[in-house]
């Protein structure tokens, strides 16, 4: 398995995993966030605490759960608490260091829509809705977002504010009485983005190997800002890639049933 032999999605997951530390307490969404958190746990952050909204605290699944409540999560957790307690003591109580979210639509300020495409009362596409995300976005100490880039998902204006990021930018969060940091990191399949310290607009700070500025712009619905000095994301190490692929293979086998 050579280093250059990885997909953009694998790069995204690995890059996201690197942003996590052993001391973090992560509220994990399904999909790319779940893969990233578990890769972190299986590589450089063995003591990271993973929490799924089903109430499982300190879980260490051997395969990725299909849902946020698979049996594997409870079987390997330190403890499993009722869902009301999860949202009250653990999320609202300020215990989560990183809330990890995906998005159907995202804007440049990290605002997220997972509710509807089109008008709320007469939607073109009725999406699943917010679930835990509105309060994950406001009560987690920081929010990381992962997303595969496309003009359909990274839009100038989202159709519905499911989860508040930096609003219209600047100090909009503080003005609404939200005292957590909000989205501090966006990891796509092409790049790593961080909010501008003043405007809070997501700015590309690192391009994944082989990715150009043009590729980032072509798959983004707003005019992209790039940092003055752009880094290149280190490619996945052999360990990272092997860990990710083993996890995905175990997961796929498990979800297909015996």
């Amino acid at each position: 398995m050579s280093k250059s032999d990885f997909t953009p999605n694998e790069m995204m997951t690995v890059a996201a995993s690197r942003a996590l530390k052993s001391e973090d307490v992560c509220f994990v969404g399904i999909g790319a966030p779940s893969a990233a958190c578990n890769i972190a746990r299986l590589t450089h952050a063995p003591d990271i605490t993973l929490i799924y909204e089903s109430g499982t605290i300190g879980t260490a699944p051997d395969v990725l759960p299909l849902s946020i409540g698979d049996g594997e999560l409870c079987d390997t957790a330190l403890t499993t608490v009722p869902v009301p307690e999860m949202f009250r003591y653990w999320l609202q109580g300020g215990r989560i260091t990183i809330g990890f979210l995906g998005a159907a639509q995202l804007d440049r300020f990290g605002n997220i829509n997972t509710t509807v495409v089109g008008d709320y009362d007469h939607p073109k596409v009725r999406l699943p809705g917010g679930g835990g995300a509105p309060e994950i976005a406001s009560s987690s100490q920081e929010v990381y977002i992962t997303l595969a880039q496309s003009k359909r998902s990274m839009v100038e204006k989202i159709d519905f504010y499911t989860s508040f990021g930096h609003g219209e930018g600047g100090d909009h969060r503080q003005r609404l009485g939200i005292d957590t940091k909000g989205p501090t990191l966006l990891i796509t399949d092409l790049a790593i983005w961080k909010p501008d310290p003043a405007t809070r607009e997501f700015t590309v700070v690192s391009l994944h190997p082989g990715v150009t500025r043009e590729m980032v712009q072509e798959t983004c619905g707003w005019t992209v800002k790039f940092a003055e000095t752009l880094e290149e994301t280190p490619p996945p190490s052999e360990l990272e890639l092997a860990t990710l692929r083993d996890l995905k293979a175990r997961t796929e086998a498990a979800h297909k049933g015996a």
């Binding site: 399904i30 109430g55 299909l66 698979d70 009301p84 949202f87 009725r126 999406l127 508040f164 909009h172």
Partner: protein
């Protein structure tokens, strides 16, 4: 006081047309058998409450039984959208469904308030979130000590809640373990609580003292239905049928395929069928 009944009677005696009803389960312990029984008995105009409406609510909505849905995440978890729900919301097929949409935090707090006998729940939520603008049941109050604005939602008080659990004892006490979700709250918040269980045991004398137990005087009816959560799962009994969740996405995508599947697997089926559906998923004990 809990009465032990066949599932058909437990559903017939406790569910009525027009009721506000919760079939709760948070991925784990979804009361599928009870929902299928409700479908066979053709109830109408239900207000369906659930944090995570998934396949069974997609089925009930697809069969035209729901006039309203109160929820916080309507997806086939890990798979995608609910296609029968989409057809109802986007196209009014087979009927339009009124939507009352919340966040998980709001629903969990609202069930908790219902169990606690309060008229409303308060929490720090919905800040900057647009649901607060489209749902008139989201209001706010000011903390009388700090002045902080907090979100308020009405307590959830279903006419009847259906849940699935591991065990009942002979007195009718019910044990729920593993991912316990909001089921205890949903049961205590409801006027009537109907529970399907995997098995009946003599007593709970050997259990750890701090487990999640519903005393028999909080339960209206109990039906023993092994496998009754399938394709969801029961911790300690059988695993989640993830393949069936993946399959549902194709079944629900087409109105005709959906009806044919419902006819074969629900309308022509019975509670006893669940036991064999989980046979290959049973865990070594």
């Amino acid at each position: 006081m809990a009465r032990f009944l066949p599932l058909s009677e437990a559903v017939a005696e406790n569910l009525n047309d027009g009721d506000t009803v919760a079939f709760e389960g948070f991925t784990h312990l979804i009361p599928t058998a009870a929902a299928h029984e409700a479908i066979r008995q053709e109830f109408a105009d239900l207000t369906l409450i659930r944090m995570t409406p998934d396949v069974v609510y997609d089925q009930m909505i697809g069969m035209g039984m729901a006039k309203k849905l109160v929820f916080s995440y309507a997806g086939n978890p890990g798979v995608g959208l609910l296609r029968r729900l989409r057809d109802a919301v986007e196209n009014g097929f087979p009927r339009s469904v009124e939507i009352e949409e919340h966040s998980h935090a709001a629903m969990a707090n609202a069930y908790e308030a219902g169990a606690a006998g309060l008229p409303c729940a308060i929490f720090r939520g919905y800040r900057g979130a647009e649901l607060a603008k489209v749902n008139p049941n989201i209001k706010s109050i000011a903390c009388p000590f700090t002045g902080e604005e907090l979100a308020a939602v009405p307590a959830l008080r279903p006419d009847v809640s259906f849940i699935h659990a591991q065990k009942a004892d002979l007195q009718g006490n019910v044990l729920i373990e593993g991912i316990v979700g909001v089921q205890k709250e949903a049961a205590l918040a409801a006027r009537r609580a109907v529970v399907t269980v995997e098995e009946l045991v003599d007593d709970f004398d050997d259990l750890h003292p701090n487990l999640c137990i519903l005393p028999h005087w909080t339960v209206t009816a109990i039906a023993v239905v092994p496998g009754g959560a399938h394709p969801s799962y029961t911790h300690g009994y059988y695993a989640r049928d993830n393949a069936e969740y993946l399959e549902w996405d194709k079944i629900a995508a087409d109105r005709e395929v959906f009806r044919a599947w419902m006819d074969e697997n629900v309308l022509q089926a019975a509670p006893d069928d669940f036991a064999k559906r989980v046979e290959k998923l049973r865990l070594a004990r």
